[in-house]
Each structure stands twice: as structure tokens, then as C-alpha cells.
């Protein structure tokens, strides 16, 4: 067994062609998932059972099942119904990319909403009392006090979730999408050189993860510029 460096040099540009799709999956499902998470969070903290209970069930189901199963249900499962094939969403659901984005957003939304809720629960009671004392309404308190502080508290956990979303995008390769992993799997099927291809791809993903960590580090420092420095 030898390590074929020339093969890596040849296949690296091919794998990097999939970077666009990986990024597209990450960014679009990241944004949609965040919006969904905010809706779920508002439902959870609304204090009304008919909002709270459905949100809790949603989170329980999507956090309790594997993301691969969710992707397969959306991609292979939904077309079982006539109604889905006739609906306006069919152009999106017909495409594997649309299905992957939908499944990834639904999945990450459930995780992120719990992270955000942790942030909201972590907001100090004292500042909210101060808000009440200033005569702020519940909405004003949420927008001007809870939301900014909760964002800062939730950010470290959120960055971890974005990284696991990045790793989940690799599963798009199981429904024929040619993202970086999909291309790598095709190359391995042709050349049968799993070490060279998969290890170099792993390094690309690690660089990606590292970049995301740095990015969130910058955001975190920006958001906590008014807070007292610890230690």
C-alpha cells in the first residue's frame, strides 16, 4: 500500500468544485434553520400550551431521529403522496438539493431553538426587573433586553451547532448530490484509493471547521465588547 500523492493532486481540484454546493447547503439551511428556531423559541416561551406543546413535540421528534432518516423521508418518502407531487412545492422537492436543504433546515431548527432557549433562560432576572422599573412593555423588554443578552449567551453553543450542520451536509451525498463528499465518493469508486481521497477531504473539512470557529470567535468578541472582561 502506498500513498499516491499525484492522485491527490489530481482529485483535489475536482473535490473543491463541490465546495460551492457544500457552502450553499450550509448557508441556506443555516439561515432557514435559524428562522425556524426563532419561531420555535417564541412558541416555547409564549406561555400558551397550544403553541408550546406542538413546538416541544417537533423538537423531540427531530432531535430524537437520525438526520439521515429525515433526509430520506423528505427525498424518497414525500413523493409517495399524490398531493405532494401536485403541489407548488414540487419543483423544490423534486430536486435533491431542495430536499437536502429542507431536511437540514428542519433538523438544525430543532437543535438551535433549544440552544436559543438556553440563552433566554440564562438572562439575569435583575436586568428584566430593571426594564420593568423603567416602564418597558413585555415586547420592549424582549427586544431590547432579552434578545441581545440571549444571543450573546447562546453564541458559543450555536457555533458548535453550525459546525455539526457543516458535517451533516456531507450526508447530502447519499441522495446523489455532488457536494465535496459526493465527488470524493465517486472518485473512490473509480480509483479505489480511499486513504488518499478521504483523508485529504477530511483535511478540507477541518480547515472549514477551523474557519467557522475563528469566524464565531470574532463575532463573539464583537458582541461582548461591552461586557466586563473576566479574569
Amino acid at each position: 500500500m502506498s500513498f499516491d500523492l499525484q492522485l491527490i493532486a489530481e482529485s483535489l481540484p475536482m473535490m473543491l468544485m463541490g465546495i460551492g454546493i457544500t457552502l450553499k447547503l450550509l448557508v441556506i439551511s443555516g439561515i432557514l434553520g435559524l428562522l425556524l428556531a426563532i419561531c420555535l423559541l417564541l412558541m416555547r416561551i409564549s406561555g400558551r400550551w397550544y403553541f408550546n406543546v406542538p413546538a416541544q413535540i417537533y423538537i423531540y421528534v427531530f432531535r430524537g431521529t437520525p438526520i439521515l432518516v429525515q433526509i430520506f423521508i423528505v427525498y424518497y418518502g414525500l413523493p409517495q403522496f399524490e398531493a405532494v407531487r401536485d403541489s407548488v412545492f414540487w419543483p423544490i422537492l423534486r430536486e435533491p438539493t431542495g430536499c437536502a436543504i429542507l431536511a437540514l433546515s428542519l433538523n438544525t431548527g430543532a437543535y438551535v431553538s433549544e440552544i436559543l432557549r438556553g440563552g433566554v433562560l440564562g438572562v439575569d432576572k435583575g436586568v428584566l426587573e430593571a426594564g420593568s422599573a423603567l416602564g418597558m412593555s413585555a415586547h420592549q423588554k424582549f427586544i431590547y433586553i432579552t434578545a441581545p443578552i440571549a444571543t450573546r449567551l447562546a453564541l458559543p453553543a450555536y457555533s458548535n451547532d453550525v459546525i455539526s450542520l457543516l458535517k451533516s451536509t456531507a450526508l447530502a451525498s447519499t441522495i446523489t448530490i455532488a457536494d465535496m463528499t459526493g465527488i470524493a465518493r465517486t472518485i473512490v469508486a473509480d480509483t479505489y484509493a480511499p486513504y488518499e481521497i478521504f483523508i485529504s477531504l477530511a483535511i478540507i473539512y477541518m480547515i472549514f471547521t477551523f474557519g467557522l470557529q475563528k469566524l464565531f470567535g470574532v463575532i463573539e468578541r464583537y458582541l461582548s465588547r461591552y461586557t466586563k472582561r473576566e479574569g
Binding site: F72, Q80, L171, F198, A202
Partner: protein
């Protein structure tokens, strides 16, 4: 529900495989996590570096990539070894069960490493001093003081790692493990009802996740029985 007639037993055996993967990977995950944590806490610079690399690599790479690499990579090594003895042999592989189980325990073990490290650091120094004062040896301190205090601290995140193991089992179907995803694929080719079949898979995984969550809650209660009121 009629379409499911005749498939229940296949799903049952598939679920049994999921359970087996879970139990085997749980043991290995704890082992990897403890080894990693001890390496990180040791004074040896080399052990420190190795454990650091371990957590960076496996937390930054998609799970599916590790599974594919371990399966195809080990198959290449085994095949080349086998060909030394018998050139007729074309392909030898590690059973997908073990390749997959080891892969997911390595991955989740890298997360457990951080959890265990944090928990060991969280052990009250006063308890350790008290043990010393009582004349306990290092080994006794480890078994009677560090471990009992540490596992209570590690339990909540450790429960999440157990859930990850359950959910990652679905990924092993990609390399041909005959668990529930695999059963669903067979059932779909016969019945043509992908949605129904994958929903059953989701329900089985949800059942496993629920069991694990309940188990962790029970253990948490058990762990608190002697500490209630001490806070």
C-alpha cells in the same frame, strides 16, 4: 398499515442490530473518552499532543467520512495482507458492523474526551485532599473519590453523547449494515411505499432515543440520592 404486514419481523431484527451497535459502541466510546481525557490531563507532552489531535480531527470531520474511510481503508489493508497468502482473493473486508461500530465510537469518543476532562477537573480539590489526609493511595483516590464525583458531573453531556451514538447508527447502513434503514430499503423495492417505511425507521430510532433519555434521567436521580440537600 397493511403494507407493513410481513415486514415487522425484519424491522425487529434491524432494531436488534441497532441495539447491539449501541451497546458495543457505548463501551468503546467510554474507553476512548477515558483514554483521551487521561492523556489530556497527564503531564506527558506527547500524550497531550496526541489527544489534542484526536479531538480536533474527529470533531471536525463528517461522521460519514470516518465510517467510509475506516471501512474501505481497512478492507484495502486486509485484502493486501490476504493476497500475500492467497493471490486468488479479490476482496476481504472488516464486517460493516465492526467497522461502523468502531468508527462511531471513535467519533463520539472525541466528544466524550472533552466531557470527561471537564468532569475530572470539576472534582472538588477538597475531596482529594481529604482522601490524601485519610492515607488513601492514588488508585484508591481515583476509584473511591474521583470517579464517583466525576460521573455525576459528566452525566448530562454524556447522555447527549449516548443519543449521538444511537443516531449515528443509521449512518452505518451506508456501508451495508443490515439495520432498520437497510430493511426499509428492501421493503421499499417490494412495496413502493418509501414514506411509510422510513417513518417506521424514524419511529424505531425515536423509541431508542426515548429509552436512552429515560435511562439517563433515572441514573441522574440515582446519582443525586446522596447529594440532595448538600447544595
Amino acid at each position: 398499515m397493511d403494507v407493513l404486514t410481513g415486514w415487522w419481523d425484519d424491522y425487529f431484527w434491524g432494531a436488534l442490530v441497532v441495539g447491539k451497535v449501541f451497546l458495543c459502541s457505548l463501551g468503546l466510546m467510554i474507553l476512548f473518552g477515558l483514554l483521551g481525557a487521561m492523556a489530556k490531563l497527564s503531564n506527558s507532552r506527547i500524550a497531550h499532543k496526541v489527544a489534542g489531535a484526536y479531538t480536533v480531527v474527529f470533531r471536525g470531520t463528517p461522521e460519514i467520512l470516518v465510517i467510509l474511510l475506516l471501512y474501505f481503508g481497512s478492507a484495502i489493508i486486509l485484502t493486501s495482507i490476504a493476497q500475500v497468502f492467497n493471490p486468488e482473493i479479490k476482496f476481504v473486508d472488516v464486517p460493516p458492523f465492526w467497522a461502523g461500530t468502531i468508527a462511531i465510537s471513535i467519533i463520539v469518543g472525541s466528544y466524550a474526551t472533552e466531557t470527561f476532562r471537564g468532569a475530572f477537573l470539576g472534582v472538588n480539590p477538597g475531596s482529594i485532599e481529604a482522601a490524601r489526609a485519610l492515607g488513601m493511595s492514588d488508585l484508591q483516590t481515583f476509584i473511591y473519590v474521583r470517579i464517583p464525583e466525576m460521573w455525576r458531573l459528566a452525566l448530562p453531556p454524556f447522555g447527549n453523547h449516548m443519543l449521538s451514538l444511537v443516531k449515528d447508527t443509521a449512518l452505518i447502513s451506508i456501508i451495508g449494515l443490515n439495520e432498520t434503514m437497510f430493511v426499509a430499503k428492501q421493503a421499499i423495492t417490494v412495496t413502493g411505499k418509501p414514506f411509510t417505511m422510513y417513518i417506521v425507521v424514524g419511529a424505531i430510532y425515536l423509541g431508542f432515543s426515548t429509552l436512552v433519555t429515560l435511562f439517563v434521567m433515572g441514573v441522574e436521580k440515582f446519582g443525586e440520592r446522596t447529594t440532595v440537600g448538600a447544595k
